[in-house]
Symmetry: C3
Subunit: 139 residues, 3 copies
């Protein structure tokens, strides 16, 4: 049993830009030689989040609309009154979707469904450079 940790780095434009991390996570897992264990994908930051979805432009647009509807950008936020950075909606969206995802690794393969991809959603209101932690605990 070992613990292996990697960082994925990429640029985003913010405004709920969605990145497909599946390929990068699969590559990291493959390179580790680990066959069975738990793979944690974690977003270190309070305006980004991770989950899974079918990565096609329709479903992504539908997901963005949900956040525009239940946590719209263009309204008052207490966070914005205090800090003036205009990303109050980003914090609420990220807290709701959550920063961590756990995917089992079985016989060298992530147990994702065929139409299920690992995504990062950058809810911030400006471009960001993101570092996502991928940690494997297994054998």
């Amino acid at each position: 049993m070992t613990v292996t940790t990697h960082q994925l780095e990429f640029n985003t434009q913010g405004d709920a830009e969605i990145q497909d991390l599946t390929g990068a996570v699969t590559e990291v897992v493959g390179g580790s030689g680990m066959r069975n264990g738990i793979v944690t994908v974690f977003c270190p930051g309070s305006t980004g989040a991770v989950t899974t979805i079918e990565f096609e432009s329709g479903a992504l647009a539908d997901l963005k609309r949900l956040f525009d509807e239940i946590i719209p950008q263009d309204r008052d936020y207490e966070h914005n009154r205090r800090w003036g950075d205009g990303n109050g909606h980003s914090h609420v969206r990220a807290a709701l979707l959550g920063p961590s995802l756990s995917v089992p690794l079985v016989d060298g393969r992530l147990t994702l469904g065929t139409w299920q991809q690992i995504i990062h959603v950058d809810f911030d209101n400006r471009p960001r450079r993101r570092k996502i932690t991928v940690q494997m605990v297994g054998e």
Copy 2:
């Protein structure tokens, strides 16, 4: 320290049918002989999700109403325009609720509360056969 993985298989009717997985997960954990570690429950698919709730019909109906209200089935979805399978709402609901759940195992017992059950929600718009991954990493 070892890694043990099992699959739970069951049929669902879709349309936000909720299954109580607590008994099956408890049985798998008990059969493994593991005493302490992390138990990951993962839904390999982009139209199902897992969480915990008090498994009584009132709370389940209330949870379903939430999804009917914030992500209703009977409206336009970009996913449906592209793919015509009518389950755009299913994808958004599943992405929001999330595919993974981590439950600590301590002295042979899952640390669930008395009124807290592990559930799978099948958000798809048709009956499905589901295979849920249960993975234990511990000793």
Copy 3:
């Protein structure tokens, strides 16, 4: 590789009171001597949940408003009709936000962002004594 489990105990007032658990989790992790692994924070109960957010009063108020809007307390719930305890909204909120969070531990440090804190939200409608499980699997 070892498994270490601790319990955090604290009182809450309920009504979406938010507790910052970051200091307590960091202390538990530091005391364990573990350097690398996965830290699971789990809420054993069906009316509380965990996530991360920037712990400042504006963002916390904005998060509470979201739940007041999409899952308000002052309406009918099937759970309340059956059980009369008035916390139907609490169950739905907790199921949506989720009971588990996984944070990678790398070189003795939780990989949280600078402005990202681990929180427990007590959605119940009355004061509670809470016991949160913190489990580390690593080396």
